[in-house]
């Protein structure tokens, strides 16, 4: 067994570091509904960690706990060795956590470029007045941030839609723009909520490629929720499987694939 601070090298040559975030006995209730019950797992530096499970298993709730949007009634979230207090979303963002949403949450009327620029908000120090009047550090900052954004646009190959309003884009591209915006924040932990939902095979392949490249190129730790088992198994280093709010499996894709509880949850089992 690995220690929290141990690091190891994967078969494909990436270095996975120590634990960044740890969920300790998390229980989340909405009134009488138990969305998550007593779940523990960790996320290591530099890995791609997937949370899978059938519909209603509590995956999105779990992601919202990781992102700090939901506060669990029981258990605690450790981030970089510290218990994490209740935080406002902008404080979470400042900690280096960025996310995408299951139902795309972009500014529809704005161009792709402007949308991605909003991801840089945390990197802008100039005041509203300086920005409005184009005075002080505003100009230099804008240039610097634009450069960072252009690198991401280049990375995700969306140059051709740079100036296109988001509302005119097809679904697959919107998803990519959302990823671009999340990346613009230069997160150390990236949370992806069903990045491939509603995509066709080709779009899924593109997205998988980008997720791997992001992890590879920037060393970003990625936690993702996904429906598509095939995709998850190919992408992830480790997988947590949830069913009815409980954790039923945790391990490498191979371990999870051979776990009887997981097979039952996915294929169904007769309850007699």
């Amino acid at each position: 067994m690995l220690d929290d601070s141990d690091s190891y090298v994967t078969e494909d040559g990436r270095t996975i570091g120590g634990v960044v975030m740890e969920m300790q006995n998390i229980t989340l209730r909405f009134g009488g509904v138990v969305a998550i019950s007593d779940i523990s797992f960790d996320i290591r530096e530099g890995e791609i960690r997937a949370i899978i499970g059938p519909n209603g298993a509590g995956k999105s709730s779990m992601l919202n706990v990781i992102s700090g949007f939901y506060v669990p009634q029981e258990g605690r979230v450790m981030y970089r060795g510290q218990p994490r207090p209740q935080m406002r979303p902008y404080e979470v963002a400042r900690q280096g956590i960025a996310r995408t949403f299951q139902n795309i949450a972009l500014f529809e009327g704005m161009s792709v470029l402007d949308n991605v620029m909003t991801g840089r908000l945390n990197h802008m120090k100039a005041s509203v007045f300086q920005q409005a009047l184009w005075r002080g550090k505003a100009e230099a900052e804008e240039t610097e941030n634009r450069e960072a954004v252009e690198k991401i646009i280049d990375f995700l190959e969306i140059q051709h839609i740079r100036k296109t309003p988001v509302s005119r884009l097809p679904y697959g591209l919107k998803k990519r723009v959302e990823l671009a915006r999340a990346l613009a924040a230069e997160p150390s932990l990236l949370l992806l909520d069903e990045p491939m939902a509603g995509m066709n095979v080709e779009e899924k392949e593109d997205m998988s490629r980008f997720i791997l490249d992001v992890n590879d190129e920037f060393g970003t730790t990625i936690a993702l929720i996904e429906h598509d088992m095939g995709v998850v198994m190919d992408l992830s280093d480790r997988v947590v499987v949830m069913d009815y709010g409980r954790k039923i499996g945790d391990g490498t894709p191979d371990e999870v694939r051979n776990n009887q509880d997981v097979i039952d949850a996915y294929l169904g089992v007769s309850h007699d």
């Binding site: 990375f155 051709h160 490249d213």
Partner: protein
């Protein structure tokens, strides 16, 4: 031209021209590329330094004189530098089509025995890695974009910038060797090897010497008075001879600037930003743009639409004549000037043709309507006829003598003759040296006196002296009745309709002609949207009864026009089918330059062709398709076969008015 004569000034290779440009036009822009949203620029002096660093790096890596260096990727300054760097060290650059699948690449790389490969990105590198077991001579791959390749085994892989760094570091040690190799280049050394696209059979490696390239660049630049102030957009495949001549040959001879787009998808935006003065595009690009303009005009407001149609009608009347310098009345000129202010000017700007001085189209026949549309706007669009073996130019159209149906007069220093069977032969300073490792084909194409057979049939028009191409000599045949069969003649007429992308006509040796038709998804899709026609796939749209009806009306219109031609009235299309998939180079149905491979299509779709001739009303078929990554799949469909009305050959004489 102010430049000294080649030979006398030692300008008999591209590296020599590079040195001259770096000396004489040091601070003039040589290369631009849009990256990170900004046009990055390199002057000739900077470009020369980059190329030198790469050349030194190549020597350092062990490149010998006479080695082949394959280059694969989209148009980027770095890859153009690679070609010239390869030449500088005495190696031979072999650009390969970037969209070639691994198998095709394996043939080319194996045939030339490339020891080194310079690849644009992971996509190209992956193909090489996939086939490297078949490549016995392959040693090192140099890549530009490192993305996705961090985890690869780097014993044979090198980053472009590192090779340059190593070259710079070893400058003092290796510069002597580089200078020695550069000095050895003569007019007769090999400049580049380009593989033909291979309409029939395997691609052949065409060896072009420095003389071929430099002389051709010199002559063609003089013909169109190209100067060092030109700007071109380099977006056509680097493996195609045209791009080599425009973006390297002429660019180096004249010293003008080569601009590379940000990505293939941004080409139209980049075209507008650069506003090239000298532009080259296959008819497909012009057709696509015209279709786009027409679609957008249909969506435009009433006033704009009326203005557009009113002034375009006027342009059609006088625009071409004004461009050709013919006499036009004052009122017409004034109206044209007003139109220029309101419609033509803004339209040209939108298209990116605001500054164009010389534009060429070649590769395929362009529709007269499309050609006239651009010329009527005041764009000096001309046609040329050429091939790889001629280092592009065989004939071109001089300013003021431009017509849609001819390809112009022989280019400077090119001799052209027509054989008895109509085949066109030429001899020129650009005539290729040989097909690499293929003496039989060389001998079969080029005779002892240097005359090269083009494989195309054509004739010189008596009064104008312009060459007219009929068809590929191989494709021209006879119908069962003995009438002449020239498929391209009919295909081109059909392709001029915006909703038809591709056509293949059959009928050689048969009693009547039939056709395969591909719809243009852009145009038909837009039409479907406007008419509330829902469709889920290309296949469904292509089989829609309303689409079939509109295609049928086009076929019948073309039949009427074909019937008016005494010689070719037998080529009217009796039956046709709209195919369920686009003809594609990945499936081997077209060449990478998008020319139809008839033999492959006849073989692959034999069942559909049989149905076209046996009178059945529909055919069920399954077709194998190849995806971009080389995997195979299949699609099945039941296709309607339509009968088209034909006109009795003699009736056109009475039918007129």
């Amino acid at each position: 031209m102010a430049h000294s004569q080649p030979g006398a000034g030692g300008l008999h290779s591209l590296p020599a021209l590079l040195q001259r440009n770096a000396r004489d036009h040091a601070s003039a822009p040589a290369y631009r590329e849009k990256e990170f949203g900004i046009w990055q620029c390199w002057t000739w002096a900077e470009g020369e330094k980059e190329i030198e660093a790469l050349a030194l790096g190549l020597i350092n890596l062990g490149v010998n004189e006479g080695d082949f260096i394959a280059i694969a990727g989209r148009n980027r300054p770095y890859l153009y530098w690679s070609m010239v760097a390869a030449q500088s060290v005495g190696a031979i650059p072999v650009p390969v089509y970037q969209d070639a699948v691994a198998e095709e690449m394996a043939y080319v790389l194996g045939h030339c025995g490339a020891r080194f490969i310079i690849a644009g990105d992971q996509e190209q590198a992956d193909k090489v890695i996939e086939i490297q077991d078949q490549l016995h001579q392959f040693e090192h791959l140099i890549y530009l974009d490192a993305r996705g390749m961090r985890k690869y085994d780097h014993t044979q892989l090198h980053e472009f910038a590192h090779i340059q760094d190593q070259g710079r570091a070893a400058h003092d040690e290796l510069i002597g060797e580089l200078e020695r190799r550069r000095a050895k280049l003569t007019y007769d050394s090999t400049c580049v090897m380009l593989y033909t696209s291979g309409t029939t059979g395997k691609p052949k490696g065409v060896v072009l010497s420095n003389r071929n390239v430099v002389e051709t660049a010199k002559n063609s630049a003089a013909f169109d008075k190209l100067s060092r102030d030109e700007n071109i957009l380099s977006y056509l495949p680097m493996a195609w001879v045209g791009d080599f001549i425009f973006s390297i040959g002429q660019a180096y001879w004249c010293g003008f600037c080569t601009n590379c787009p940000e990505s293939a998808d941004t080409m139209m935006t980049d075209l507008r930003e650069i506003g090239p003065s000298y532009f080259f595009a296959p008819p497909r690009v012009f057709e696509g743009q015209l279709t786009n303009v027409m679609i957008r005009m249909e969506d435009a407001g009433k006033l704009k639409r009326r203005m557009f149609h009113h002034f375009m009608a006027h342009a059609k009347k006088v625009g071409g004549r004004i461009l050709d310098g013919e006499p036009v009345g004052l009122m017409d000129r004034l109206k044209y000037a007003l139109g220029d202010l309101l419609v033509y000017g803004p339209l040209k700007d939108t298209l990116g043709y605001g500054k164009i001085r010389v534009g060429y189209t070649a590769g395929e026949a362009i529709g007269p309507e499309i050609f006239d549309f651009y010329r009527s706007l005041g764009i000096n669009l001309k046609q040329l006829y050429g091939q790889t073996e001629a280092t592009v130019f065989i004939t071109l159209q001089p300013d003021g003598q431009v017509r849609a149906d001819t390809v112009g007069v022989p280019a400077p220093e090119v001799e052209v003759k027509i054989a008895d069977n109509g085949e066109i032969f030429y001899r020129s300073p650009g005539t290729f040296i040989e097909y690499y490792k293929n003496a039989d084909s060389t001998a079969g194409t080029k005779d002892a006196e240097g005359w090269v057979a083009t494989g195309d049939a054509g004739f010189f028009e008596k009064d104008s002296g312009h060459l007219r191409i009929i068809d590929r000599a191989k494709d021209v045949g006879k119908m069962a009745s003995g009438a002449m069969f020239a498929p391209k003649f009919v295909e081109n007429k059909l392709k001029f309709f915006p909703d038809i992308l591709e056509v293949v006509v059959f009928g050689n040796g048969m009693d009547r002609c039939t056709a395969f038709i591909n719809i243009d998804l852009n145009a038909v899709g837009n039409w479907a949207e406007r008419n509330n026609i829902a469709y889920a796939s290309y296949q469904e749209l292509a089989g829609h009864p309303k689409v079939l009806a509109s295609i049928q009306s086009h076929v019948e219109e073309v039949n009427r026009s074909v019937a008016a031609d005494d010689m070719l009235s037998g080529c009217q299309i009796h039956r046709f089918v709209v195919l369920h998939k686009e003809l594609d180079a990945d499936d081997g149905e077209m060449t990478r330059t998008r020319k139809v491979r008839r033999v492959v299509i006849e073989d692959k779709y034999a069942d559909i062709i049989a149905a076209l001739y046996d009178g059945s009303a529909e055919i069920s078929t399954t077709t194998e398709v190849t995806y971009e990554d080389g995997r195979k799949g299949s699609i099945s469909a039941t296709l309607d076969i339509r009968d088209a009305a034909v006109v009795q050959a003699a009736s056109h004489k009475v039918a007129a008015e």
